[in-house]
């Protein structure tokens, strides 16, 4: 404070914020930063899932009918996934490397009597045929989804993804990424639960 009384024109703005004790202003930045640091520290210790989970889990499959992805197998429609035993719906593509990695696991599931319906994303018939010839064919049907319409409708954000569909046509479980050896029992258990 100056010893001279401030002249009329140099009066400070008479605003309630200025009337708070100076100490609050000086410590406020530190307090805000401490809050941020605490929050960030807490968040760093939390597990972070990078995957986008489908909002469609627990909901009924949307209606669709896809043409065959190649000449060897029929195409896929919603009606093919409804009734009887629970099935796996596998979203894949011949141009996708992790799909090659998961092919043996799909074979193993197929060998245990699981019916797997495939949807090939933005693929070509000859590529699909080549892929199946080289890496095995665990599918009963493969639909061609050239514009990712079914993929988007069931809330899948990438390839490969695998969904468990129960007899009523409800999506029960979503597996994101390639199926590893360790995922097989999980998927079998989910299929059992969906029965």
């Amino acid at each position: 404070m100056t010893d001279k009384p401030p002249s009329k024109n140099t009066e400070r703005m008479d605003f309630w914020l200025w009337k708070l004790p100076l100490g609050i202003w000086l410590w406020a930045p530190l307090a805000l930063f401490a809050f941020f640091a605490g929050l960030a520290g807490y968040m760093l210790t939390q597990d972070k899932t990078e995957f986008v989970e489908s909002a469609m889990i627990g909901q009924s499959l949307p209606d669709f009918a896809l043409k065959p992805a190649f000449d060897g197998l029929p195409g896929a429609a919603r009606s093919d996934l409804v009734g009887g035993q629970p099935r796996l719906l596998n979203i894949w593509a011949s141009w996708c490397l992790p799909c090659i990695a998961e092919a043996p696991q799909l074979e193993a599931l197929h060998a245990q009597g699981v019916e797997i319906v495939g949807i090939a994303i933005r693929d070509r018939p000859e590529d699909v045929a080549n892929f199946l010839a080289r890496h095995g064919n665990p599918y009963t049907r493969i639909g061609a989804d050239d514009i990712s319409e079914v993929q988007l409708a069931i809330g899948s954000s990438g390839v490969p993804e695998t969904f468990v569909i129960d007899a009523a046509g409800v999506i029960r479980y979503q597996h994101i990424g390639d199926i590893r050896e360790s995922d097989i029992p999980i998927l079998l258990a989910e299929l059992e639960k969906a029965r």
């Binding site: 140099t10 000086l26 930063f33 929050l39 960030a40 760093l44 972070k48 050239d146």
Partner: protein
């Protein structure tokens, strides 16, 4: 061998940072008038450290240039078949390399200030260098302990895995280095602020020392953000120029703080007012740089700029943030009360206008910070949100609009005290332009509120920028004032581009068969053919689109959908047709089942003005630096001439006082 030299240089630089810190701290204990004998090491240590950090960085560039695949970083991010320019720029296209660049610039700024700055009292200088050394030390530790760029592979890789194709662009050559130089240049402002606070030497001399650093960093940030925005605009193929992505915000926040700082430092230099506030902004600006680094690299936020994220690294940077930002704010809280109050001024004065805009800039900064961190906060309660333009645009406009209004008249006011009635002609003129333009535009069509206001403000600001020159002899206007005029005019130009893009953009998404035609704005475009093409490390589908405006001569545009094979990734290469009054932006999408192709076209009137404006702002900053440095040199010369004359007179045995 190359990698080992680099690593050794880095360790030595870290050791010198310790020396610089300790020696600088001893300067604080110097008695009045004489230097502490241990304080003399700080300057040479800073200079040597800059050289060593530069050497380390050069070694890494070399390893990338010769594609030394026994170095893990090179093997993970480069490829022997990549064009040379992208091998070099790939040095900083990854986490470790970019951190090394960061630290290199930090050491360089420390070295430069140690080498050239002689105006400050030695105690303040020592404290400044100690802080600079302390900051550098933390980041050396981070590099050496958790992100060693020179790590060798036990067995050299046969081939590298390549660089993200989005980064294989000339933009990578300029955008990160300028931006980093800007971020880290602010470290000097931070260290100076801490040094001045520790020694309580907050005065106009300090402000004049700080100003070129703030201006320089601010120019580089402005340029880096402008370049980054244009790069994202044409490279991502989304047609937008600003996405409020966390990484973009991380660059905007230091810029906002630096903009506020450079105005408040001007007030401190000219009028010796706003002492504490300037210190606060100096701390804040670099804190925002470090915060941005943390947000981008820790993975706590999701962003399109996918750095290799690692929670452990995140924890390391968080500790550094705690030390530096927490420490600085603590010292601020303890010491700022002891800094003598600066000169007073009336609200209607140039200082008053600058303070108002400082507060507005800080408010925008708070808005951006809140929006960026909000997803982090909600995620702590398991709610995932993403904050986008519907929040950022109106929330920041709320403070930007009053700021622009005050910015238009602020430079017309006198220092210390002025009556608003003196400038009522200018105020009325600007108000008439503002209302006139808004009225005119809304008469011709229905537009959203913000673009409409933006157009009116841009027109008013464009005129207002030149008003400070009215009634002055143009040849006698200082260079720095020309800088201000140009930067403020750049704001108007940029704002006009943004508003025009927002108000008048026309978009057309169509499925076109080869031979088919569509219309967007005044343009007719015809898809001539779609062909496969190949580049050095990619193949692509390329559309040939003939575009003609109002039936004029057609121009061929060739947007591509590229597939890179090392690493495998698809990118969309937009094609641009630039005209003086805007840009046509073309992107090719997927092929539909019936053989037609998805084509997306935008006509964006005056969109280029956004970046022209950014360049003008940066150029204005350059002019201001030139002007300030020239004045400083003259002043220094005058002082030394005076000293010489006094020495001569003393030698002649004349008392200096009598000769005056």
């Amino acid at each position: 061998m190359i990698a080992e030299i680099g690593l050794a240089a880095l360790w030595l630089a870290a050791a010198l940072a310790v020396l610089q810190m300790v020696s600088g701290a001893f300067a604080l204990r110097s008695a009045e008038g004489e230097a502490n004998p241990l304080a003399i090491y700080a300057r040479p240590a800073a200079v040597m450290q800059a050289l060593l950090a530069g050497l380390a960085f050069t070694m890494l560039v070399w390893a990338f240039a010769v594609t030394d695949l026994s170095v893990k970083l090179v093997a993970a991010n480069s490829h022997s078949m990549k064009p040379m320019i992208y091998k070099l720029t790939g040095t900083w296209g990854n986490h470790e390399g970019s951190m090394l660049l960061w630290v290199g610039v930090l050491a360089l700024s420390g070295g430069l200030i140690a080498l050239f700055e002689r105006r400050l009292p030695e105690r303040t200088m020592g404290a400044t260098l100690a802080v600079q050394g302390f900051v550098a030390l933390g980041f050396y530790a981070f590099l050496l302990l958790s992100s060693n760029p020179f790590e060798r592979l036990p067995v050299p890789a046969v081939e590298g895995s390549g660089l993200n194709p989005l980064l294989q662009d000339i933009g990578l050559a300029f955008h990160p280095p300028t931006l980093y130089a800007g971020y880290v240049g602010l470290s000097v402002a931070f260290s100076l602020a801490m040094g001045a606070l520790l020694t309580r030497e907050v005065n106009p001399t300090f402000a004049r020392v700080m100003r070129p650093w703030v201006l320089g960093a601010w120019v580089l940030l402005t340029f880096g953000i402008t370049a980054g925005s244009y790069w994202a605009y044409y490279e991502l193929g989304w047609g937008g120029w600003w996405f409020w992505d966390p990484v973009e915000n991380a660059s905007l926040m230091p810029w906002l703080a630096a903009t506020a700082l450079l105005h408040s430092v001007a007030v401190l230099a000219a009028r010796d007012a706003l002492r504490t506030w300037t210190i606060m902004l100096g701390v804040l600006a670099f804190s925002m740089s470090m915060l941005g680094t943390f947000l981008v690299r820790s993975g706590v936020l999701t962003s399109v700029h996918a750095f290799a994220v690692d929670p452990q690294r995140g924890a390391f940077i968080l500790v550094l943030l705690g030390l530096y930002i927490g420490g600085a704010f603590t010292i601020f809280a303890l010491r700022a009360g002891a800094v003598a109050e600066g000169k007073r001024f009336s609200f209607s004065s140039r200082e008053g206008a600058l303070v108002f805009n400082n507060v507005m800039l800080s408010a925008i900064l708070a808005i951006v910070l809140l929006g960026t961190l909000y997803p982090l906060l909600t995620e702590a309660f398991d709610v995932r949100v993403s904050v986008g333009p519907p929040y950022f645009n109106p929330a920041s406009a709320m403070f930007a609009i009053p700021m622009f209004l005050v910015m238009a008249v602020g430079p017309l006011l006198r220092w210390k005290e002025d009556s608003p009635r003196r400038i009522r002609f200018e105020v009325l003129l600007l108000a008439a332009i503002l209302i006139g333009v808004i009225g005119l535009v809304s008469f011709f069509g229905q537009f959203a509120l913000l673009p409409l206001l933006g157009l009116g403000l841009a027109a008013a600001l464009g005129v207002a920028a030149f008003l400070p020159l009215r009634g002055r002899k143009l040849t006698r206007v200082p260079v720095a004032t020309w800088g201000m005029v140009m930067a403020h005019f750049g704001i108007a130009v940029s704002l006009f581009g943004m508003a025009s893009e927002g108000a008048f953009t026309q978009e057309r998404l169509a499925a076109v068969a080869p031979g088919g035609s569509e219309q967007v704005g005044d343009f007719t475009f015809t898809l001539q053919s779609v062909n496969p093409v190949a580049g050095p490390n990619w193949t692509a589908i390329e559309a040939r689109i003939a575009v003609s405006r109002d039936g004029g001569a057609p121009v061929i545009l060739t947007p591509q959908a590229r597939n890179f094979w090392s690493p495998a990734q698809a990118t969309s290469e937009s094609a641009l047709l630039t005209r003086w009054d805007g840009q046509l932006y073309a992107v090719i999408g997927n092929q539909a089942a019936d053989g037609r192709w998805q084509i997306r076209m935008w006509w964006k009137p005056f969109v280029t003005f956004i970046w022209y404006g950014g360049l003008l702002i940066a150029l204005g900053g350059v002019l201001a630096i030139i002007g300030r440095v020239r004045v400083d040199m003259k002043r220094r010369k005058a002082v030394s001439l005076g000293d010489e004359r006094r020495a001569d007179l003393e030698a002649l045995g004349v008392q200096p006082g009598l000769a005056e």
